[in-house]
Each structure stands twice: as structure tokens, then as C-alpha cells.
Symmetry: C2
Subunit: 85 residues, 2 copies
DNA sequence: TTTTTATTTCGAAAAACATCGAAATAACTC
DNA sequence: GAGTTATTTCGATGTTTTTCGAAATAAAAA
């Protein structure tokens, strides 16, 4: 099971997070932004989800992904603690 | 070539960085903190170095590793931008 | 100059990861 | 119920990563 650091070590997943910062997106909308198959994007979404970085809600057939910022606080604290000059 | 995110995705490497936050350490001192071979720790140090997260200076036979915080600014900005509620 | 100390590089093995196409699920529409 | 749409799961493949032991390098000490 990957932690938040592992989840954000992948560029595609960071781009997904950036995308979600604007507003929630459906899996399909996220797919459209990348030159990857739906299977691959779904896998990335799963990784983000299990790391607690995103939340999902179902709306009929579509699944909506949104940001779950609290989990990033841990990373933020680490970096602030360590990067503080 | 791994970026800073990739470098910090590994727990051992984050612990090394935490260690260096206190003060610079020699490779040997860092080794002593982990239940890993010198070869493995040296590899991790190499990854941190190529990501620009640490600096080295030689002092006779020993090599001293120290923190290079500026490189963490990029990550910090990303997280602040994205985790800001 | 041989030996010792500190560290890295090499080569290999095992585990983890990203990616895909195809099949499966879930919910809607006809 | 049969077909359609949105998304995930499965199984496989190639790549990257972590780790090690052994050999190599670098500088000092004997």
C-alpha cells in the first residue's frame, strides 16, 4: 500500500491532483486530459484514492473525483520542517 | 534521472533528510542509523544527490553530506498551491 | 609501499510499478 | 430484458527500484 509520497512521486498523478484543484472531475474527464488508456488512468486514480488524496462520489454511471487536501498536511509539515533555512 | 519527488518517495531517504536537518553527517554516520548495507545507503545518498537535495564535501577519506534545501521549494510550492483549502 | 579506513561502483536478484487490451461491473435507456 | 455508457478489474509485459555481496577507488597511516 502506497503512502501519499509514493502517490505523488508520479508525474501523471500530480497532474491529476492539479486538475482537481480547479474543480471536481469525473473519471472520464480526467481521462481526456491524458494520452493514456482508461485502464491506466483508473489505476492512477485508485492509487491517489488509497493514499487518501482524493475522494469519490457516484453520480449515476459516472464517478466524480475531488481533492482531499488534509492528507497533504503531513507532507507539507515535513517539507516545512526540513526545508526551513 | 529521478526528480525530487521520486527521491522523497522512499522512506529511508526521507529519514536521511531528517537526519541531515540536524547537522551534516558523514556517509558512515548515516549508515549507522539504518539496518542496511553501506552499498544500499550509498545508493540512497546518490539518489538524493542527483535530485539536488543534498550536497557533499570531502574531508580526507570521509565524505560529508549536508542538506540543500532550495530544491525543496518546488515541492513546497506545489503542495501549498494544491493543499490550500 | 603495504595496509587500513571510508566510501562508491558493479552486477545480479527480487519486488514494485506503469501500462495496455480485454473482460467485468454498474447504472441508465429503449 | 437487450443494448449503451462510464468506469474498474484482470492478466500480462516491460521497466524501474531496492537491496545485497563483492570488487574497486581514494586517502591516510604504518
Amino acid at each position: 500500500m502506497r503512502d501519499a509520497w509514493g502517490a505523488l512521486s508520479d508525474k501523471t498523478r500530480r497532474e491529476i491532483i492539479t486538475l482537481l484543484k480547479g474543480r471536481p472531475h469525473t473519471a472520464g474527464e480526467i481521462c481526456d486530459q491524458f494520452d493514456l488508456t482508461a485502464a491506466t488512468v483508473s489505476h492512477h486514480l485508485h492509487v491517489l484514492k488509497e493514499a487518501g488524496l482524493v475522494l469519490t462520489t457516484r453520480r449515476a454511471q459516472t464517478i466524480i473525483y475531488s481533492l482531499n487536501s488534509p492528507v497533504m498536511q503531513g507532507m507539507l509539515s515535513y517539507l516545512l520542517g526540513v526545508a526551513r533555512k
